[in-house]
């Protein structure tokens, strides 16, 4: 009961990888542009056929070049959202959604309205795509993709055409929709942060090959997999509760690893927030340091140490239920004797956490 994909092609975009995605799981295909992510997605949808490939969903074979099976796109139950959204310009939002319902659906209007309500767009059902904002268009495209009750939902850079605030609202929309996504979801993105925020598992692609594959925490802690993506983008989320202003412009928060001081936040006391901690901002110590300018010293336990090809290593540190990442040198990791199970302290400069890195948690 899953989506299974294996593809090989020599050109025009070389491909050689395989992966699978479980029902209800969001799998992110991450990689720089030209890595073959979209090509791979298009071969799942049937818009492109690799030289040698197999695509199966819940045991139904959509493509098997060995057995000469190659269903055309309209006979594969996929939902596809592309970067341009590709909404039909001559149909209203509701018309677009209804167009993807199976022919002979008894109540197309009602069903389209229901799907639009699901993505929070009930009030613009009668507008044409040109009368909708980018974010609204994206949600219509999502509702349309869900209208077929697809066996696999394919999202091809669906957030890259909107500005950052809209993007964050759309991320929240996806989180709210999770309960309705019973099918495997494949998200193509070049944005590591986007993959980290939305996906359960990741496949990191480089030149058509998978250079890393696994759960998001596993892949994020693997320097070798992320080298092509830029290790400076590696981050983790720490949950915290706002305690309140602490004078001199700082706000105190409470985490599972101890108090956290950040530049003034606008969030009210008691509010649960998520704080993005960049791996290269974290310093590790075996003992609680003293006489240090850094304000934030969180206690945790090392979960794993993964060395990269270069001088660096990525350390996963469990802090309560959370896990943060620290990018340190291999030399330091050895000198400190860091290994799974070792108690340690993560040190973080208050000023290194940008205001945009804090967002309200949950809905």
């Amino acid at each position: 009961m899953a989506l299974e994909v294996a593809a090989q092609a020599a050109g025009p975009i070389p491909l050689d990888l395989q992966f699978s995605a479980a029902p209800g799981e969001i799998l992110a295909l991450v990689g720089p542009s030209g890595a073959g992510k979209s090509t791979l997605l298009r071969s799942i949808a049937g818009l492109w056929t690799p030289t040698h490939a197999r695509v199966a969903v819940n045991g139904d074979i959509w493509l098997d070049t060995d057995r000469r099976i190659n269903l055309p796109p309209h006979r594969r139950r996929v939902g596809l959202v592309v970067q341009s959204y590709a909404l039909f310009p001559h149909m209203t939002a509701a018309g677009n959604v209804a167009a993807a319902l199976p022919p002979g659906h008894p109540h197309p209007r009602a069903e389209a309205g229901h799907l639009l309500a699901l993505v929070g767009l009930a009030d613009v059902a009668d507008r044409l795509p040109a009368q909708l904002s980018g974010g609204q268009q994206q949600r219509v495209a999502l509702a349309r993709a869900l209208a077929r009750a697809p066996s696999a939902l394919l999202l091809d850079e669906p957030f890259s055409a909107v500005d950052l605030p809209t993007r964050e609202r759309l991320y929240a929309g996806i989180h709210r929709l999770r309960d309705h996504l019973k099918m495997p979801v494949v998200l193509v993105t070049h944005d590591l942060e986007e993959a980290r925020l939305l996906a359960d598992r990741m496949v990191v692609m480089e030149a058509g090959r998978a250079v890393g594959q696994g759960t998001v925490p596993e892949v994020m802690a693997d320097p070798a997999a992320l080298r092509g993506m830029g290790l400076r983008a590696v981050a983790a989320t720490l949950h915290a509760r706002v305690v309140g202003p602490d004078g001199d412009g700082l706000t105190q928060l409470e985490t599972a690893g101890g108090p956290l001081f950040l530049p003034r936040l606008d969030e009210p006391p008691g509010r649960q927030v998520r704080v993005r901690i960049m791996a290269h901002d974290v310093i590790l110590s075996r003992h609680r340091p003293e006489g240090l300018s850094a304000l934030n010293i969180l206690s945790g336990t090392v979960r794993s140490v993964t060395a990269g090809d270069g001088p660096g290593a990525m350390v996963r540190v469990a802090i309560g239920e959370d896990e943060i990442l620290a990018r340190i040198t291999r030399r330091s990791a050895e000198a400190l004797g860091l290994a799974a199970g070792v108690e340690c302290f993560a040190i973080l400069k208050a000023m290194s956490v940008a205001r945009g890195a804090v967002s309200p948690a949950g809905d």
């Binding site: 949808a45 049937g46 818009l47 055309p72 796109p73 309209h74 139950r77 996929v78 939902g79 596809l80 592309v82 341009s84 590709a86 909404l87 039909f88 310009p89 001559h90 149909m91 209203t92 018309g95 209804a98 167009a99 993807a100 199976p102 022919p103 044409l128 349309r144 993709a145 209208a147 077929r148």
Partner: protein, 222 residues
Amino acid sequence: MDWTALFLSLRLAGWTVVILLPVAVLAGRFLAWNQFRGKRLVEALVLLPLVLPPTVFGFYLLLAFGAHRPIGAFWRDTFGGQLVFSFQGLVLASVIFNLPFAIQPTQRGFEAIPTDLREAAACCGMSPLRAFWQVELPLAWPGLVTAMVLTFAHTLGEFGIVLMVGGSIPGETRTLAISIYDRVQAFDDRSAAIMSAVLLAITLVTIMATLALAPRMRPRRR
């Protein structure tokens, strides 16, 4: 005023449009989205009637329609009539010399449909036939309307080919344009002037109607 000729002209233009519509959709759509060897040649052949002198084109059609030529003979054996100097022959000639006016704008209309929309139609589960009716045709519609108006107006005005293939048989092949010529030959300038004005008016109204429709020609809402 030769009402028979006017009626004949309108009938000829009407039949030409009706017959060319499906031809233009099939050919224009095919040429828009397919790359094949000899595509340039096909496109050039389609455009040929646009640049060839009508008399030259009419001469070849006259030859081809002859009762002892394959096309003429086939027509005689199948439908029992002759193609030259008949209304049927005129319609066939008209269909052929209007090919560029019908196919070109239709092809542009289909070419203007973005690939991602056609892919979206397929990924929405639409069969090729359903995608054609629900997505392709509404979006290519402006091109199709242009094609049909051009064909209609051009048929009303064609002279050389009609004269070569049809001659000037009243009620059969004498169109308004031919009738005007006949009247001038007979020094009946008054009739020629009236008919010219009528033809001018009809053509102008047709084109103005298209221009007026153009802003509203965006595919209708569903």
